[in-house]
Each structure stands twice: as C-alpha cells, then as structure tokens.
C-alpha cells in the first residue's frame, strides 16, 4: 500500500513537472496565437488576460490582406516543392553513382562533395548574389530555387542507404538487361523510401524557413516568400497596426506545425541521420 502511494505521488510529481515545462516551452506560441485571435482593443488590455475568450479571426484576416499573404504562401509552397523534388532527384543520381558505380577518382570526387558540406551559406551568399544578378535572376523564381537544388547532405544520405542494398540485386538486374536509371527508379529508390521521405521533409522545411538567401535575391511582391513577408508586417512605430504581425506569424507557422505533427517520425529520422549514426 505504502509503496503504491509513493509511486502514485512520484508519478503525479513527474506529470506536474512535464506539464509545467511544456507550458513554458509553448508559452511564446500560445501568447502570440492568443493575441492574433483577439480583436485589436482586447489584444493589448491591461492587465493582460491569458484566457482564450472573445476570439475573432479579424486580425488574421487583416494581416492576410495587408501582407498579401496568400500570394506569399503560394510562392513559398512553389519554391519549397520544386527544391524538394530537385534535391531528391540530384541526390538520388549522385548517391547512385557513388554507391553502385566504379569510376576513376571516385574517392576524390566524393571527398570534394563532403568538403562542400563545411561551407556555410553565409560565406557564399556574397558572390552568389552577384552570380544571380549576372544571370538576370534577381527577383525570379530561378534565383530562389536553382542554387538550392543540390544538397551534399542529401547525396551523402542517399549513398549511405544505397550502400546497404545488396550488390547481388544490381547484378541480377544487370543480367536481365536493366540499365542504371531503370534500376534506380524501379529498385533502389523504392527500397529507400523512408530515407527519401526524411530527406524530402528536411529539405522542404529548410527551404520554407530560409531567410538569408531569399532576402538577398528577391525584394518584390511577386516572388517574396512568406518568411520575408513577415518582416513587412512588422511596424514597430505604429502600435495600432502592431497586431498584424501576430496574424502573419500564425499564417506562416501553421502549415509547418501541421507538417511537424504529421511527419514527426520522418523529421526525427532526418535530423538524427547526421548525428547519432554519424
């Protein structure tokens, strides 16, 4: 009996701690969401009420119109989708070459790929912005998309999972006259679906959330991504319009939060692929 009580108390203590910590972690999101769902006057009352009462979509609606968020969301969706598909394709091709083909200087070429992983975007943006300019790609979708179409991380990940496919499978296919592309498409890629899912999700999130490169390559409404659009809702000096940014945040973050909940497993797989198994 006594131990049951102790165990019960311990369990209660642990749950209380979990709930308290979860509340702290979630507080910023909750506060912003609440603010976005209140009407202009209620949003700034004092003392601030943190209860979800008198909710309205007015703020979000005004932010949507003021920020032209529909267009920006479509831009982000389009750019992220194309980059994701592109990264998967280029990673599959290069990963296949490194895993299944033998060619001179293979190790050196692979080392070159790996070493580019060390170069952060922050270093290359200076010149890339000029390159994009010289191609006439400023304020275009190409400018947003093309530089991100190859991912060394993706190549590495795909090579890794392809190396685990038995060599006999390729040999059996070769005896049947299956070419490399067909084997890639019909056998190797389907067998690697979980990894490709993780890579795809990872790439999509990264592109959707990118800030520095888009900020350097586009500044017109036709091509701006949602991340860049948020900044334009920020009007520090005009308190009456201050709440627009909370509406924008909800619009920008919601699709990604839904993705996180739906694809949590793939995301964790993608993130940990670089860490634990190294």
């Amino acid at each position: 009996m006594a131990t049951d009580t102790v165990r019960g108390a311990r369990k209660f203590g642990r749950y209380s701690l979990l709930v308290a910590v979860a509340a702290i972690v979630l507080f910023p999101i909750y506060a912003v969401l609440l603010q976005a769902l209140k009407s202009g006057a209620d949003a700034f009352d004092h003392p601030r009420s943190l209860l979800p009462v008198d909710l309205t979509f007015d703020t979000i609606r005004s932010a949507w119109t003021a920020g032209n968020l529909g267009k920006l969301l479509m831009n982000s969706l389009f750019v992220s989708t194309v980059v994701t598909i592109g990264v998967i394709v280029t990673s599959l091709l290069a990963g296949y070459a490194f895993a299944f083909l033998n060619f001179p200087l293979k190790k050196i070429v692979f080392a070159i790929y790996l070493s580019t992983m060390l170069v952060p975007g922050e270093v290359t943006v200076v010149i890339n912005q000029r390159t994009a300019d010289s191609f006439g790609w400023l304020n275009t979708y190409q400018g947003l998309i093309v530089p991100s179409l190859a991912s060394t991380f993706g190549v590495f990940l795909v090579r890794q999972v392809f190396l685990q496919i038995p060599k006999e499978l390729r040999e059996a296919a070769a005896l049947d006259g299956v070419g490399h592309l067909r084997f890639l498409y019909e056998v190797a890629a389907p067998l690697s679906r979980p990894t490709l899912g993780a890579l795809g999700l990872f790439t999509f999130l990264g592109t959707w959330n990118a800030y520095l490169w888009p900020s350097q390559v586009v500044n017109d409404n036709a091509h701006r991504t949602i991340q860049l659009g948020l900044e334009r809702l920020k009007t520090p000096n005009d308190i009456s319009k201050f709440n627009l940014v909370t509406g924008g945040l909800v619009v920008a973050a919601l699709p990604i939060f839904i993705m996180l909940v739906v694809f949590q497993r793939q995301l964790v797989r993608g993130l940990t692929a670089g860490a634990v198994k190294g």
Partner: protein, 298 residues
C-alpha cells in the same frame, strides 16, 4: 572496355547535375570570395586592383570586425551552454515510459519547425515594450521590459536575441539528445542499478558518457548557428539598438542593410572568408576537445 571505364559515362551523367550546381553555387563563390578578399574594387566591380593578402589581416584587425567578432562570440557563449543544458534536461524528462509521453515529446520538439523569421518575430511581439505580453506580466520584476524594452537597451539586446535563439533551437537539441538517450542500451542502466548506483550517479556515469556523440553534434551545430546568426539580428534589432552595434554579428556586418561594408565587395568577401575560417576552427577545436571523450557505443 575495362570495367572501371565502362561505368564512367553513366557515372558522369549522374554526377553532372549536383556537381555542376555545387561548382557554381558553392565552390566557385568560395574561391571567388577568397580572391576578392585581397582586392579593392569600385562599386561596379569592373575595376579591381590587387591590394595584397595582408588585407585579410587588416580586415580582421579593424574595429568593425573586432566588435562584430566579439558580439558573435558572446552570442555563442550565451546560447550554446544554456541551450545544451535545457535540451538535455527536456530529453531526460521525456525519456520515461509514461502514458501520453508522446504528446510531451511533440511539444518539446515543436520549435524545430519554427523558422528564424517566425521565432524572431514571436519574441519581437512578446518583448514589445508598450504592448508586449512579457512587459505586461513581468515588468514589475524587470523594469527594463517596459522602459526602454530589452531590445532597445544596448546591455540587454544581445541577451534578448540569445533568448529567442535558445528557444528556437530547443526543439532541435531535444530531438538529437532524445535520440541519443534512446540508443543507450537499457542493460547498461540495469547493471548500474544492480551495482547500487543512485539516479544521479547513473546519469553522470552512464547517461552522459553515452550521450557524448550527440552532445558533440549539438554543440557544433549550435555554435555554427550562433556564429552565422543573421535573420534574428535583422528582425529583432537591426544590429542595434540604434547605432550602438551592440548586436551586429559578423554576418550582419556583411549582409545587414546599414552595413558599413555593404558596397565594398573586397571587404565583404574578406569578412565572409574570415567567418568561414572561424566556423571551421571552432568545429575542429570542438571535435578535438571532445575527441578523447566521445564514446561511440554500439
């Protein structure tokens, strides 16, 4: 035809897309930046002249760069240890077989989905001095929240940026450490338990050593992120407050709107290359420092 060469044409075709992209958008700009780093150009960048490799040293020693370097290092120092400890704390808390633990894990991972822009603006809203919720709730304890606002005071602006970064990275840190925890073999805990080790000893003697690969990875990533912080600066402080440069990190020095070097491709390139070397050095030092202590248990 020799077998090695038989694979060459398909291999080339398959490598060309990614190799071409990497060459144009990663390798070329790096080489070019290194080259521009020792050149002085006019605004059109048509007329450049060689000013010697010691330009890198001049840039490194300049007051602007030194100040920005200091800000970047401070930011790393504020975000990495705290972020790491909080992430480990969350992971240990959530590494229990309890009903509904999945919900808590999702909550703790949630900030991984927030972009730099979203996280920064969330904190921008929370920290707003007149109408922000934190000023409203906590200004009794921390008067600066209301006047002038944490982001508007040169002594609190950087810690406020760090707060936003720590929160934004928490989900990532949690996921990596959590995965590390779950790969610790259960029988290790059991044998430690049988040996009579208490929960604190079990944590320091079993959990932490087995976590070293994950901790190393997180440390390197968080440090790199801090050194490369741009979006949060652009959105939260604009490098300021005002003209103080209290939050002007190296990337903001290079890319920021009111940057001094905005139009000088030479200094910009030199700074970017120095930033790259800085990141490399830090990663190398961290790998080395951890090297002997990392247990890749299997």
């Amino acid at each position: 035809m020799k077998r090695k060469l038989r694979d060459l044409p398909p291999a080339l075709l398959m490598l060309v897309p990614s190799l071409g992209l990497l060459a144009v958008w990663t390798i070329y700009p790096l080489v070019r930046a290194v080259d521009y780093g020792h050149k002085a150009c006019d605004i059109s960048v048509r007329n450049c002249r060689d000013v010697g490799w010691d330009r890198y040293w001049t840039v490194f020693q300049s007051k602007e760069f030194q100040d920005a370097l200091l800000v970047s290092l401070k930011l790393a120092l504020m975000t990495v240890p705290v972020g790491l400890v909080l992430g480990i704390g969350l992971a240990v808390l959530a590494d229990k077989q309890l009903k509904g633990i999945g919900i808590f894990r999702t909550v703790f991972s949630s900030t991984v989905a927030t972009s730099v822009a979203v996280a920064s603006l969330v904190w921008f809203v929370l920290l707003q001095p007149q109408v922000g919720v934190l000023a409203d709730l906590l200004s009794g304890w921390i008067p600066k929240l209301k006047n002038p606002g944490l982001l508007n005071d040169s002594s609190t602006a950087l810690p406020a940026v760090a707060l936003s970064s720590i929160w934004a990275s928490l989900g990532f840190t949690f996921i990596i450490i959590m995965a590390g925890l779950q790969s610790v073999p259960r029988d290790l805990y059991e044998s430690a338990f049988v040996d009579g080790a208490g929960s604190f000893r079990r944590f320091t003697n079993v959990t932490l050593p087995m976590l070293t690969p994950s901790i190393l990875f997180v440390t390197v990533v968080l440090t790199t992120r801090a050194l490369q912080a741009y979006g949060e600066i652009a959105l939260l402080t604009g490098g300021g407050p005002q003209d103080t440069k209290a939050t002007t990190t190296i990337p903001y020095l290079i890319y920021g709107n009111n940057s001094l070097v905005h139009n000088d491709i030479g200094i910009k390139s030199a700074s970017a290359v120095l930033l790259f070397l800085l990141c490399l050095t830090f990663a190398a030092v961290q790998f080395r420092g951890f090297g002997k202590r990392v247990h890749y248990g299997n």
